[in-house]
């Protein structure tokens, strides 16, 4: 810890001061230091998307960003997105459509879906498939996830 660096991050609206090793990835900082275990580490090399979170409003892979790089940033994880109700329509649609099985990809998948719907409030199935194509799901085969995102988009458009 001789090279530990002080950082200040806003996580799910809470101001967090911490001293971290420079090598600590943001996903490990969130999970291990802050006990925000909702985001998952699936591959730790940026392919699977399980660790997708929001940093300053943009989707980021938590395993490809260091905690020190988040100094001064605002981070949203599945815990914060759930409590704020920001992705409630997506979460309800995922449950109704059984768009999750083991649930390990789901927090990251929801972040990807939320970002997709921000850019395309009325997406086609192809656009949904493209929008979540960076998030690996071994269980569902994706069909139900596409259904759920389309349903959630309709709900959200109705307001």
């Amino acid at each position: 810890m001789q090279h530990a660096i002080d950082i200040s991050v806003t996580v799910n609206g809470e101001r967090v001061q911490a001293r971290v090793e420079p090598r600590t990835h943001l996903i490990d900082f969130l999970r291990e230091t802050l006990d925000l275990t909702g985001s998952h580490a699936g591959c730790e090399h940026g392919v699977c998307g399980a660790c997708s979170i929001m940093v300053d409003g943009q989707m980021v892979r938590g395993c490809l960003m260091l905690a020190v790089q988040a100094d001064g940033a605002s981070v949203q994880t599945i815990e914060g997105l759930t409590e704020s109700g920001a992705i409630a329509a997506l979460q309800e649609a995922f449950v109704a459509r059984n768009a999750l099985q083991c649930g390990f990809c789901t927090p990251g998948m929801l972040v990807a879906a939320a970002e997709l719907l921000r850019a395309h409030p009325a997406p086609t199935r192809e656009q949904v498939r493209e929008g979540i194509s960076g998030n690996y799901c071994r269980c569902t085969g994706y069909h139900a996830i596409v259904d759920a995102v389309i349903d959630a988009a309709a709900t959200m458009r109705k307001g």
Binding site: E32, G103, G141
Partner: protein, 793 residues
């Protein structure tokens, strides 16, 4: 109104057949899951493993002096030290005659036999510190000749991996049914042949393997939190190899991030983690990272099959002959063994069809690669690709439509019960109805017209059909008779609490397929309460009845039947008590929506919470001799048939670009028959997920090795997985032939999708390539292989 008593599944307000959302899904979408890596215990340490960088090498010396001084390091343990506390195991089953393997240790002793085998364990305060210390360990290796290719594993020039076994042949089975020689010699028969390959691939559960072991020496208790499908099996394994009693070991499986058969085997690094906890007297956690998972999770489906078939000119299939070869790595995996997949290829090939002759051989060989074992749909996608590839070759050879040749040869729906030439007993299948339904669903004739029109435009599209059988609900004939302590029976305990809520605990387990939803629906229906009043407990050897867990599509068929019987028994017990309270014969009452009612009129008589209040708090008001048990336990195991077979049919529609070899999947259909469907939405999602897992193996996934035995596709940047952009929508439909072995009538559905998808894609590809004179039979069907078949690469 019909006075006939309602059947066990056809009760008023039944949830059987209803698409109820899963009770655990809300928690998971909120990020409130509880996977092993989410758990923290006081004094918990982390283990990382130094793994063999060589396919085969002698461990000359291990210098861990510097590692022991590294910050945070608690303990460094090598194979010899580990062997003093943990006994080795041998993965054989007696009923697989001749199967042999060598003792396997939790950490390699003297010699490593595959790249990725764990060699040294480092326990530290954090995983990062443990990994830092790995880099400081000096191992002196002496590389040994490696047996890498399965094709040459039995050559005299190839090194024998375990000299004490004599050779590299782990298992061989020859089977002959009917008279294949006469069929192939028939002068009127047309004989077709091909060599099929299925690519070695692996499960890639998004949550890697994970275990947290907590030995409390003061209590003499080992509690293991495990990402696993079979907690009772693991309890036995940990107890046996660490010298404990089974009762001293508790295995808890909370949320499991995907399993697919990957998490039902004994892994040396996991056993080592439990042993380390025992050595240290504190909790030790091991989380396999993706890179080490790719070389240490079991692989599967590394097969080469020479195959031929004989067909009469009128389209009658006559005989099939296969010679299967599979490489399983250096050890048969404990305790289910690595001979089962090859054995299944022999059992399942030709399964949907009436044949006059069948000859099959499987040769299972050792090699210095990652061990292989059972992975979702064990052997099925291999057998189905071979069978359905041969059927299409037969159709082509005699100029018959692929749909027509199947119609003519599928076992008739009125032929059951029957046995086939592989000696499989079928209780009742629906090949003909399922196949007709498939053709209807996909609009076969219309699709053929569309395909022909596309060809006019120079667009190469293909339609592929595949019929299959699926083995589900295995009896003790799967593992128990071979000597493995793997339960084929499962229990359910159902309890009514004073407030009218119902608790069920079951021996089958949840990994996302919806086991807990299925159990809640059955229990709610059987007892007669709203499904929201049912709480489900699974995955804990201490609090659930003994059972096998969830694998081989047994959760609904076996665990569900136990739940139905336990729930029914509890209802009967409730009615005896209610009868005494209401001065009515129990048979005149029923429980519906949480209320004791008049059976005939449905009139409400007594809410369950009132019954509960009286029984638990005012038992003094009840007759002295009244039985007042509000808990019922029932167990169930299949007894009539060794396995409960299901059937189905799939179709793929795709487009090939002959210039690039790229394949675009345009559509996929599956019709399957799993008997009674408990939750149609969950079953459809099992099918869809399974189909995509099959498509992955057919098109993308491949564990590619160098000639030296180094895995070249060991990261997700190199190992391609099916992602949403390339996957098609999948249409699913059902035919229902309930099994009469159980009151529930449910067969398994977890592997049907994976069983048939690769064959459908293979046949669609060859249908698309036919005008170009090319054929492909080696999975995965990569652009390079397609271009190779076209002579363009």
């Amino acid at each position: 109104m019909d006075d006939a008593p309602l059947s066990a599944v056809d009760r008023p307000n039944s949830y059987i057949g209803r698409s109820v959302p899963r009770p655990n899904a809300k928690r998971l979408v909120a990020g409130r899951g509880s996977y092993v890596d989410d758990l923290r215990l006081p004094r918990m340490a982390h283990v990382a493993f130094l793994r063999s960088p060589h396919a085969h090498a002698r461990i000359v010396a291990i210098d861990s002096a510097a590692a022991k001084q590294s910050p945070g390091v608690i303990r460094v343990v090598d194979g010899r030290e580990m062997a003093a506390v943990c006994t080795p195991w041998v993965g054989v089953l007696h009923h697989l005659k001749g199967l042999k393997s060598a003792p396997q240790h939790a950490l390699a002793v003297d010699r490593a036999c595959w790249q990725g085998e764990p060699v040294v364990a480092i326990v530290a305060r954090t995983r990062a510190e443990a990994e830092d210390a790995i880099a400081l360990i000096e191992v002196t290796w002496e590389e040994l000749p490696a047996a890498v290719e399965m094709e040459t594993a039995l050559d005299p020039a190839t090194a024998v991996i375990h000299p004490e076994l004599g050779d590299n042949l782990a298992f061989r089975r020859d089977h002959v049914g009917g008279d294949p020689d006469a069929c192939f010699a028939d002068p009127d028969a047309v004989v077709v042949q091909a060599t099929f390959h299925t690519g070695r691939h692996t499960g890639v559960c998004l949550e890697g393997r994970a275990i947290l072991a907590d030995w409390n020496p003061a209590e003499g208790r080992m509690v293991v939190y495990h990402s696993n499908q079979a907690p009772h099996m693991m309890q036995t394994v940990f107890a046996k190899h660490l010298g404990l009693r089974e009762g001293e070991v508790r295995v808890i499986c909370k949320d499991v991030g995907g399993s697919f058969g990957i998490k039902v085997h004994v892994y040396p690094d996991e056993v080592a983690t439990v042993a380390l906890s025992k050595m240290l007297g504190r909790p030790v956690k091991f989380i396999a990272d993706r890179i080490e998972g790719m070389v240490s999770d079991i692989h599967a489906r590394d097969h080469r099959i020479h195959a031929k078939a004989a067909v009469a000119k009128d389209g009658t299939l006559l005989a099939i002959e296969i010679d299967d070869l599979t490489g399983i790595g250096p050890y048969s995996v404990y305790p289910r063994t690595s001979a089962v997949e090859g054995n299944q290829v022999v059992n399942l090939t030709g399964g949907p069809y009436v044949l006059k002759g069948y000859r099959a051989r499987t040769s299972v060989v050792f090699q210095n690669k990652t061990p292989t074992c059972q992975y979702r749909a064990v052997g099925h996608p291999i057998a189905t690709a071979v069978t359905e590839g041969l059927v299409d070759l037969c159709a082509e050879a005699i100029g018959m439509d692929p749909a027509e040749i199947r119609r003519r040869n599928l076992i008739a729906d009125d032929a059951y019960p029957c046995k086939n030439l592989a000696n499989l007993a079928f209780e009742g299948l629906s090949h003909q109805r399922s196949f007709s339904r498939l053709l209807e669903l996909m609009e076969y004739d219309k699709l053929r017209a569309e395909q022909a029109e596309a060809r006019q435009r120079g667009v190469h599209r293909g339609i592929g059909l595949a019929c299959f059988i699926e083995l589900t609900n295995p009896s003790p004939f799967m593992y128990g008779i071979g000597g493995a302590r793997i339960s084929a029976m499962d229990g359910a305990t159902v309890r009514l609490d004073p407030d009218g809520s119902v608790q069920i605990s079951s021996g089958v387990t949840e990994q996302g397929q919806g086991t807990e939803a299925m159990l809640a629906q059955i229990t709610a229906s059987a007892v007669g309460v709203d499904v929201s009043r049912v709480r489900v407990t699974t995955g804990d050897t201490e609090t659930t009845p003994y059972g096998g867990g969830t694998w081989a599509s047994r959760g609904a068929g076996i665990g569900g039947e136990a739940a139905l019987q336990a729930g029914t028994a509890l209802r009967e017990q409730i009615l005896v008590i209610a009868g005494a309270m209401l001065q009515a014969p129990p048979e005149a009452l029923d429980v519906r929506a949480g209320v004791v009612v008049d059976r005939a009129t449905g009139a409400a008589r007594l809410p369950l919470e009132e019954l509960g209040r009286i029984v638990y708090f005012r038992g003094d008001t009840l007759p002295k001799d009244l039985p007042r048990e509000l808990v019922a336990t029932r167990h169930w195991t299949p007894k009539d048939y060794p396995f409960c077979f299901t059937n189905g049919a799939q179709a793929s529609y795709l487009e090939v670009d002959p210039d690039t070899g790229f394949v675009t999947l345009l559509g996929h259909w599956c019709v399957e028959d799993c008997g009674t469907v408990i939750n149609p939405m969950l079953v459809d999602e099992q099918i869809r997920g399974g189909v995509v897992q099959g498509l992955g193996g057919a098109l993308y996934e491949h564990c590619v090795y160098s000639p030296e035995g180094q895995l070249l596709t060991g990261s997700l940047a190199d190992y391609l997985l099916p992602m949403s952009g390339e996957m098609p929508d999948i249409t699913v439909a059902h035919v229902s032939t309930p099994t009469r072995e159980s009151a529930l009538g449910a067969k398994g559905a977890g592997e049907a999708g994976t069983a048939g998808a690769p064959a459908a894609v293979q046949n669609a590809l060859n249908d698309a390539l036919r005008p170009l004179g090319a054929k492909v039979f080696a999975q995965p069907f990569t652009p390079a292989r397609i271009l190779g078949a076209l002579g363009r690469f």
